[in-house]
């Protein structure tokens, strides 16, 4: 189907050998001469309190302690640990109302784990022993764990900038009545024959990346601050830290380290400000700051939990007439990206079905839970849990087949995607639905399980999703890339966007090699430090291949253009009549005529004038391709998931037997990596819908910030997985590729919930759907055959 020889193959992953053999160097592995060790002293006993008294003296006198720093020893400036505010224009920034509300060390504790002060010592042990000697007296404040509580009249205000503790709502200037959508929702609902409606709760899910957050920071003799970090967005973190510490960007260096998993938790900063503040307190000494797993758990942002209400109206013929929704999320103690998920949850909703009328309201309220921010899916899992269950409730009442209904009413090519005015350039969702349905045996099982007897019931469910490839046009989509050809015709690609373990650098290398016509092994790809790599916004929004890949491709095309220009002089044939394969440039019409790329690259670098003749040996100059690339689109991927579950009606336990993820990914650059992304997504999607949630006690203290009591799906718990890659090349993406980074976890959520509905005739509005909730539902409502549900 295509002529590519490297793109589309399972090229070996560039990162796995080092990771599997323990040679990958994470920030925690870094050892530098004269290194000191930092420890952030945190408030563990309160989720909301004021610091009445802070006495650092006993800790400062503790053996091995070099410095102890409190709020008065660091900049009084505040920051916003998310980077979303850097990705919008200033006018948009003002309209959204993004604020900087995070201090390095706080005197108003807003969540359990808020930072109080920092200790710098000669060993980790000394720092920890000193931490125990910090004296803090707190004045406890009322703890607000929900939006209802924090917006109540008289509630303590988290910041004067956000009255009523309403961190964010869709701005009136862009969204009239603070609502996304259009059309006459109320009128359409009055005309509807069937209206389904419910209030849902979506859980506070944690990314659980393997590498706990760790940093090294150092100020050198020239006053230059360097921070080693595994942030997903090194370039934006550079600007954030430079601004916070009043440094010109050339004096704020970022060294990206190997990332041990991100899933959004490293989207921006976590403890970089504290690490840098410590380094500034002890110039000349590197300071290493590591977090314990339980600490990482509470200080890094999680997925946004909250209440999600929705109603959908249908005509009796099945046509949807309107969708009305409201998501009130529990933001946690600080603002960071309060605007992001509150918007995107509605954006994905708007992008899914052809609702003639839509009204979505998204609000973020400060609470004293842990912070919320980016987590793979970014608002889409929440919407999927709600929307897809209500669609199936509607289908049940209409007597419609959920697959057929979705095929009829999902959006497609030419329709507006998640952003109004930006239409879908490609859509292969029908093929996803057809192939997924065939793989799970949809028709037969749907019929068979509709009427069952006995204790153990089975069900099959479907759900679909749309996502995005980069965040254009809402957010900046800019990637710079440099490709340098060495004299031996090997290539070095410099590209600032990190590989979080998703396989992006492998796929980018494939794109580079394919475009250049060089072997995969002769291309090197580096992220570099902030000194050397050009701008890139970072790895988020499933953009690395779609945007970054396009940038790499363009930079390589530019290098190839120069290569062909020089070859054309040698071969006497116009450049556009040339091609290259395996480093040999040849005339398309006469492949026997050609020249090795190396002859050109070598002559460009080792350029001499013949002393006998005075003739130059080839064209001088090292070839470099460079692009500063802005994505023209966001080509959303689509996906359909099918789940088969078994429900034990005596215990409420749900076992997922099989999960089929059929995804419209445009084109798989590296099919094995794409399958890995979709399978990994399933693991997190299953956790969202069945098992994962951070629990808090009434005082706002997290109860399960460890793997002992926060339960993810383990290897033995995973179902049989079937991954179907639907390759329908996108007209915009590089080699037809759309994204796959986040989307795999989204629709398994709705599919599992709908399979439970099919099995026992009950829908569950609170995720995760634990056995405790299922059994309660069964005892209250009784197990019903799906076939008995249809109302009309």
């Amino acid at each position: 189907m295509s002529e590519e020889t490297i793109v589309g193959t399972n090229a070996p992953r560039v990162d796995v050998r080092d990771k599997a053999t323990g040679q990958a160097q994470y920030a925690a592995d870094i050892q530098l001469p004269g290194m000191l060790y930092g420890k952030v002293v945190r408030c563990w006993e309160h989720a909301h309190a004021r610091v009445k008294r802070l006495d650092l003296s006993a800790a400062a006198a503790s053996p091995g302690v070099v410095r102890v720093i409190g709020p008065k020893d660091v900049t009084a400036k505040r920051y916003n640990s998310s980077v979303l505010d850097l990705m919008v224009s200033e006018s948009m920034h003002d309209m959204l109302g993004d604020i900087d509300d995070q201090p390095i060390f706080t005197e108003h504790v807003k969540f359990q784990g808020d930072a109080i002060c920092g200790i710098i010592a000669r060993s980790e042990e000394a720092a920890e022993r000193a931490a125990a000697k910090i004296v803090v007296e707190y004045e406890p404040l009322p703890v607000y764990l929900t939006a209802e509580a924090s917006r109540a009249p008289g509630a303590v205000q988290f910041t004067p900038e956000k009255p009523g503790n309403l961190a964010f709502q869709l701005p009136e200037a862009m969204f009239p009545n603070h609502a996304l959508g259009g059309g006459d929702v109320e009128g359409a609902m009055r005309d509807a024959d069937i209206v389904v409606e419910d209030a849902f709760y979506v859980p506070k899910q944690k990314q659980c990346q393997m590498e706990p957050h760790a940093y090294v920071a150092k100020v050198d003799s020239g006053g230059r601050l360097t921070c080693w970090t595994s942030s997903q967005m090194p370039k934006l973190v550079q600007r954030k830290l430079a601004k916070l510490f009043d440094l010109p960007m050339n004096l704020m260096k970022i060294v990206p380290t190997v990332i041990g998993g991100g899933f959004g938790t490293r989207l921006g900063m976590i403890s970089e400000p504290q690490a840098c503040a410590m380094a500034l307190a002890v110039p000349g000494h590197p300071v290493k700051l590591q977090t314990l797993r339980e600490e990482d758990w509470v200080i890094s942002p999680s997925r946004h939990p909250g209440k999600y209400w929705m109603r959908i109206g249908f005509k009796r013929d099945g046509s949807p007439v309107a969708c009305d929704a409201r998501f009130e999320n529990y933001k946690g103690g600080y603002y960071l990206d309060a605007s992001g998920t509150a918007f995107t949850a509605g954006a994905w909703l708007g992008g899914m079905y052809r609702f003639p009328a839509l009204r979505y309201r998204g609000e973020s309220y400060f609470t004293n839970q842990g912070l919320t921010g980016a987590y793979r899916g970014y608002g889409n899992p929440q919407t999927n849990f709600v929307l897809e269950q209500l669609i199936d409730r509607g289908c049940a009442e209409l007597g419609a087949d959920p697959v057929e209904w979705r095929k009829k009413w999902h959006k497609g090519v030419g329709d507006d995607g998640w952003c109004p005015g930006v239409t879908y350039p490609s859509c292969a969702l029908d093929e996803c639905l057809d192939r997924g349905a065939a793989a799970i045996g949809w028709t037969e099982k749907r019929r068979k399980y509709a009427k069952q007897e006995g204790t153990i019931r089975r069900g099959v469910g479907v759900a679909v999703m749309n996502h995005t490839s980069g965040a254009m046009p809402m957010l900046l989509e800019h990637t710079a890339c440099t490709v340098k050809l060495n004299e031996d015709a090997t290539a070095e690609v410099l590209f600032a966007c990190s590989d979080m373990g998703q396989g992006s650098h492998t796929a980018l290398k494939q794109i580079a090699a394919e475009t250049l016509g060089f072997p995969f092994e002769h291309v090197q790809l580096s992220s570099g430090t902030s000194d050397v790599a050009g701008f890139d916004i970072g790895a988020h929004a499933s953009r690395t291949i779609y945007v970054g890949g396009a940038a790499v491709k363009k930079a390589c095309e530019e290098a190839k253009r120069q290569l062909f220009e020089r070859a054309s002089l040698q071969l006497g044939v116009p450049a556009d009549e040339l091609d290259i394969r395996d480093k040999r440039i040849f005339v398309k019409a006469d492949p026997a005529r050609g020249i090795q790329a190396e002859a050109i690259t070598r002559a460009g670098v080792y350029h001499f004038v013949d002393p006998m003749t005075g003739e130059p040996g080839g064209v001088p100059g090292q070839i470099q391709g460079y692009v500063s690339f802005f994505a023209p689109h966001n080509s959303p991927p689509f996906g359909a998931s099918f789940a088969e579950v078994e429900v034990d009606t005596e215990t409420g336990e749900v076992r997922v037997i099989e999960l089929v993820n059929a995804h419209d990914i445009g084109r798989a650059i590296n099919p094995a990596a794409v399958e890995g992304q979709l399978e990994g997504g399933i693991q997190q999607g299953l956790g969202f819908v069945l098992s994962e949630e951070m629990d808090y006690d009434a005082k706002g203290r997290v109860q399960n910030n460890s793997f002992t009591d926060y339960k993810m799906f383990g290897p033995e718990d995973m179902p049989k997985i079937t991954t179907i890659l639907v390759e329908d090349a996108d007209p915009v993406g590089p080699f037809g590729a759309k994204s796959v980074g986040e989307s795999g976890l989204v629709s398994p959520i709705g599919a599992v919930a709908n399979a439970i509905f099919h099995a026992i005739g009950i829908q569950f509005t609170e995720a995760p759907i634990t056995p405790e909730k299922v059994l309660k539902g069964i005892l209250e409502k009784g197990v019903r055959n799906y076939a008995a549900i249809r109302r009309s």
Partner: protein, 293 residues
């Protein structure tokens, strides 16, 4: 919150049981005994206050001859204090004659923990959630304790006194767990419910039944996570003894369980749920022991 630092302690490394007992006599409450260390180490890193930290940790590392798992058809199964959960799974007789314990050991925690944690340690931890504890309770047995004045056997029925507390005196060392020899017509089963496969139980149950045909001659029923210690369901046992295992009897048995247990809400489940499913789980364990699917 845990710590990167293991708190300071004095490590004691006795070379024999006698020396271990002597050290216990000398330091008594100030000693924590460690075999596999899977509980001791975690507890030390998580200790909230210095008062909860042991002054001495006595490791059994160098004490020879305690790693055995020995089966004798006449005397039963002897499990030494240092035998790990993984080692318990090795002899085929364990699976054959002590099915409940074998099953508990097989699904116990994770492979890494099974390779390190000891069976006796699980009992000595005196957690109501211990899977091996639950199975041993149903199977019956004695814990052999060595003290300064000699050895004594404590029946498992008298072993757990309250949460985290056993009948072992501070100067005694638990050296062995002995399970009775298999009786004709005896069968056992273990079942547990967890949030995920690799997890602590939210509810576990073990049964040992002496059957004559379809009639239950004797029964020992044990349940975990429903009281401060592992619990014998003695009242429910009486509903089985002398009865044929008809669906009606099983129904009565299942219905009796919630009245005998006093579970709590915790991180793994709720009291309500535990009561709701306790009878179901017991019924299923009985059916499994009797080979009924």
């Amino acid at each position: 919150m845990s710590s990167r630092i293991l708190p300071d302690f004095n490590l004691l490394l006795p070379q024999s049981v006698a020396e271990a007992v002597e050290l216990l006599s000398t330091h008594r409450d100030r000693i924590t005994v460690m075999a596999g260390g899977t509980d001791v180490m975690v507890a030390m890193k998580f200790a909230q206050s210095a008062a909860k930290l042991p002054e001495f940790v006595m490791s059994l590392e160098n004490v020879p001859g305690l790693g055995y798992v020995l089966f004798d058809p006449e005397k039963g199964l002897r499990i030494g204090a240092k035998a790990t959960v993984a080692e318990l799974l090795a002899p085929p007789e364990v699976k054959q004659h002590y099915r409940a314990l074998w099953h508990a050991a097989q699904t116990f925690a994770t492979a890494q923990v099974r390779n390190t944690a000891t069976v006796l340690g699980n009992l000595l931890r005196a957690s109501p959630a211990g899977d091996c504890s639950c199975a041993v309770y149903a199977l019956g047995g004695v814990v052999v304790l060595h003290g300064p004045h000699g050895s004594r056997d404590v029946d498992i029925d008298d072993f757990w006194l309250s949460y985290g507390v056993t009948a072992r005196q501070p100067d005694e060392l638990a050296v062995e767990l002995t399970l009775p020899p298999p009786a004709a017509g005896s069968r056992s089963a273990f079942k547990r419910m967890t949030r995920m496969s690799e997890d602590l139980a939210k509810l576990n149950v073990a049964v040992r039944l002496e059957m004559s045909g379809n009639t239950c001659v004797d029964a020992r029923l044990a349940m975990g996570c429903v009281a401060p210690t592992p619990l014998r369901l003695t009242k429910t046992e009486t509903l089985l003894r002398g009865h044929e295992l008809t669906p009606e009897v099983l129904q009565r048995v299942a219905a009796s369980v919630p009245w005998e247990i006093s579970p709590i809400d915790d991180k793994r489940s709720t009291a309500e749920y535990r009561k709701q499913v306790s009878g179901v789980l017991l019924k299923r364990a009985i059916q499994e022991a009797c080979g009924v699917a």
